[in-house]
């Protein structure tokens, strides 16, 4: 079990593995994140993997590769992937790759609330 990775924290909630990623995702950081997340997936075999992107300050196409790789792995193991609360910058690159067409993306509650008020 991964106990310490500065780039994410996690919690296990019933059949879901929730991973909150922090800071910058680029080719450099994606290497260690990928290895540690995969170790947890193989150990927990979650029905749902949730990647919380609300505290990602930067992500380039290495992050897209990271997400697609986890999507493929979780699907292979019979689970699903959800992306939660991507920031504006992350949403832009996810949209460029058409990610919302294949992976469920849950927007931040704050944004929904703001829209309702308007």
């Amino acid at each position: 079990m991964v106990k310490d990775n500065k780039l994410f924290s996690y919690r296990i909630n019933n059949d879901a593995l929730e991973i909150k990623m922090v800071g910058e995702i680029d080719h450099h950081s994606a290497v260690s994140v990928r290895a540690d997340i995969d170790a947890m997936i193989f150990e927990q075999r979650p029905k749902r993997l949730i990647l919380d992107l609300s505290e990602i300050s930067f992500m380039d196409s290495s992050g897209l590769g990271l997400i697609m790789g986890r999507y493929s792995l979780v699907r292979e193991l019979g689970g699903t992937l959800l992306l939660r609360s991507p920031t504006a910058a992350v949403t832009k690159i996810l949209s460029l790759a058409g990610m919302e067409r294949i992976i469920k993306i849950e927007k931040a509650f704050e944004e929904d609330d703001a829209n309702e008020e308007n």
Partner: protein
């Protein structure tokens, strides 16, 4: 973007040479962001520049210097009319087919989980992109971005 805007007088510039260690991706972004701050860009504009630069630098590390460490030459010019010109150059293996490489989802590195979106991101997040490459000699990517500012 108008062609004349890409040929404006150089007002300020920086040059960086970094070895192709992956840790330098973030260092390159930090240095170029600091330089661009003089134009008071919006968060979105700065985010676009950081992302495009990161793709160019990562390409040098992952592809140009795949099995070795080499120097990455970055120059950033502030041109008249609030245009930023970023050149990222390597002396690596070169790109065999630039037209193919620029296509979305094209990658030669499936094992490394590359998304194949690097050039697409660079092209989408800037106003203009030029790529020149020579097999065995290296590649130069030139990016232009007009900063409207806050």
């Amino acid at each position: 973007m108008k062609r004349t805007e890409m040929c404006g007088r150089v007002i300020n510039s920086i040059k960086l040479t970094l070895p192709s260690y992956s840790v330098n991706e973030g260092i390159a972004r930090g240095a170029v962001s600091a330089f661009c701050a003089q134009l008071d860009p919006t968060a979105a504009e700065l985010g676009d520049i950081k992302c495009a630069l990161s793709e160019a630098v990562t390409n040098c590390i992952v592809h140009a210097y795949r099995d070795t460490i080499g120097d990455i030459y970055i120059s950033v010019d502030l041109l008249e009319g609030s245009v930023v010109r970023i050149k990222v150059k390597d002396r690596g293996c070169g790109i065999e087919d630039v037209k193919c490489a620029r296509m979305p989802l094209y990658t030669t590195d499936r094992a490394g989980e590359r998304s194949g979106m690097g050039f697409t991101v660079m092209e989408s997040f800037t106003d203009s992109m030029r790529v020149s490459s020579s097999k065995g000699k290296g590649t130069t990517v030139t990016l232009y971005k007009k900063i409207e500012g806050r």
